[in-house]
């Protein structure tokens, strides 16, 4: 297993409150890593440290290293560059309502200013196809991104992140706001994505973690309690907390 992300002694704070405590983990390349744990345990904070989004929150502080292919994203790398390499999909679909469906997909590429109009439109189509949205929206490409259904919006946001051709894609409970059918589509998509990229996905649903992930990280009160292959975590967890959590005996 090739390591994509090497997280070393990662600590994160909101003002005085420490949200992550000494997290050390090696995320493998081209696999799906699920992040699970009770509410408030630091899952979102953890992935937001990986694309330097954590520091945008007032009072936020980070220490430690996050090596992306060996290079520390908190070192000399430009945060904008980090975010282009490490894409993100949020809990609530957040397409840009002031842009059309097609423009939403290439919103990040447009910022680069290196693509021609024709190329952008082709990339937009291609990424809509790869998230399985093309057939549903091909007649509505000019409509606002906010005019789609919730599930479609979330796939649009995935297409938007994928269009950047990211090396890692972070997903914060991407299906928690969606109906079962849309959730199934997202899960299919996640499984497919690992052929191209490294996926880290937060989920509150342990069955979902079991279904779609190769590796699972269990967090509790800001600490990484256990990190292992998903099969091991679910069949023979080493830590009692992990076992209690996956068997649903606490939050």
């Amino acid at each position: 297993m090739q390591t994509k992300l090497d997280v070393q002694d990662l600590n994160a704070w909101f003002y005085q409150k420490q949200a992550l405590k000494n997290v050390n983990v090696k995320i493998p390349e081209k696999m799906v890593t699920a992040v699970i744990g009770p509410s408030g345990c630091g899952k979102s904070t953890f992935i937001r440290c990986i694309n330097r989004m954590h520091e945008l929150v007032p009072g936020a502080k980070v220490s430690g290293k996050v090596l992306l292919d060996g290079a520390d994203i908190y070192g000399t790398m430009d945060p904008m560059d980090v975010r282009r390499k490490v894409g993100m999909v949020f809990q609530k679909p957040n397409p840009f309502p002031n842009m059309s469906v097609a423009d939403n997909v290439v919103a990040g590429l447009k910022l680069l200013g290196t693509y021609k109009k024709q190329e952008l439109s082709e990339l937009s189509d291609a990424n809509l196809k790869s998230v399985g949205l093309w057939e549903e929206v091909k007649d509505d490409l000019k409509k606002s991104g906010a005019s789609l259904s919730g599930g479609q919006q979330q796939r649009l946001c995935i297409a938007r992140a994928l269009a950047m051709n990211p090396e890692v894609i972070l997903m914060d409970e991407p299906s928690s706001a969606l109906d079962p059918a849309s959730t199934a589509k997202i899960e299919e998509l996640v499984k497919k994505l690992k052929n191209e990229t490294t996926v880290i996905i937060i989920t509150h649903n342990v069955q979902q973690a079991a279904r779609i992930s190769d590796m699972t990280a269990f967090f509790y009160l800001g600490e990484l309690i256990e990190f292992d292959q998903t099969a091991n975590i679910f069949e023979s967890p080493k830590n009692q907390l992990t076992e209690r959590y996956i068997t649903g005996r606490f939050g």
């Binding site: 282009r84 957040n94 990040g108 992140a161």
Partner: protein, 312 residues
């Protein structure tokens, strides 16, 4: 008990409704009354001067010749230019404030902006007259006239009190209005969308350009109209700094020449005016009212048209 209570509330409800209706009627009634008063008092001037009131350049009470065009032009030009100049400055300040100013300085900054908006206009007038006018005369007007005075727009002599100074003062008065509203609007950019933009590698300024400003656009249009309204109707400060010379821009195009506006002409002349001149001054006021209403109407239809697309 219960029935009585609800009956009581019903009575209170309908009383409140009548109270509101009465209030709205008073507002409408006041507006109509003012309009009719202006119109009625203007009638002698309207009869006497006819359309030449709108095109005439001469204001000569001794010979009963009244043309309002220089004042109308002065009003429109000074207000429009001041507002146009204020737009980029205000938006720039607002962007700096929301995205770049250190959190601790924000409170002081916003206090200052609010204070600037609340300063009585006579104070702007005194400040413009005593401090800015001499400063501008020696440091702006004279050097520019010296360098490019051959261009009619910048030709001399430098008076200090001028349409240019009036525009500068009006710009300073309008900026806090547009800035305060724009700050309010920019700070309301939905955080999830902002984060979405930033997660794609957008810089702060790209996030503002592609998200903050498009979201605020409608509100900024409204703020600009509000500012324009203030500039159109501003009297005291303009009267004090514009130099009150009646023929600009028909006496020459220089922005450094003294000029007049509807409000400053009325303020300056209404005290001693009698007979037809008084009526003519009120006709000018009527024209100002029509201009303000038109600005209001245009802005409303503009806002309606842009908001039809479902998004500002």
């Amino acid at each position: 008990m219960k029935a009585r209570k609800s009956h009581f509330f019903k009575l209170q409800d309908s009383l409140f409704k009548y109270f509101l209706i009465a209030c709205s009627l008073i507002v409408v009634g006041l507006f109509v009354a003012i309009f009719l008063m202006l119109f009625e008092t203007s009638l002698p001037s309207i009869y006497q001067n006819g359309w030449s009131f709108l095109t005439g350049l001469v204001w000569d009470p001794n010979n009963n010749i009244f043309g309002a065009l220089p004042a109308i032009a002065g009003t429109l030009i000074s207000a429009a230019v001041a507002t146009l100049v204020a737009i980029p400055l205000s938006i720039g300040i607002a962007i700096f404030f929301t995205e770049y100013a250190p959190a601790r300085s924000k409170l002081v900054l916003s206090l200052f902006i609010d204070l600037l908006a609340a300063i009585p206009s006579v104070i702007y007038g005194i400040w413009g007259l005593w401090i800015i006018a001499p400063l501008i005369k020696t440091n702006v007007e004279q050097p520019i006239i010296g360098a490019i005075g051959f261009i009619p727009l910048f030709s001399g002599p430098a008076y200090g009190l001028s349409i240019f100074l009036a525009i500068v003062i009006l710009t300073i008065m309008v900026i806090p209005i547009i800035t305060a509203i724009t700050i309010e609007l920019l700070s309301k950019t939905p955080v999830p969308l902002k984060e979405g933009m930033i997660s794609l590698g957008a810089t702060k300024s790209e996030t503002i350009r592609h998200l903050g400003l498009p979201f605020a656009r409608l509100g900024i249009v409204a703020a600009v109209i509000l500012g324009l309204g203030r500039a159109l109707g501003e009297t005291m400060a303009v009267t004090m700094v514009i130099g009150n010379s009646y023929y600009w821009p028909f006496s020459g195009y220089s922005i450094f020449a003294p000029a007049t506006t509807i409000t400053s002409k009325i303020a300056g002349a209404v005290g001693e005016a009698g007979g037809l001149e008084f009526s003519a001054l009120l006709e000018m006021a009527l024209i100002l009212m029509v201009i303000s209403l038109a600005v209001n109407f245009i802005s409303r239809s503009l806002i309606k048209r842009t908001s039809k697309r479902g998004f500002g």
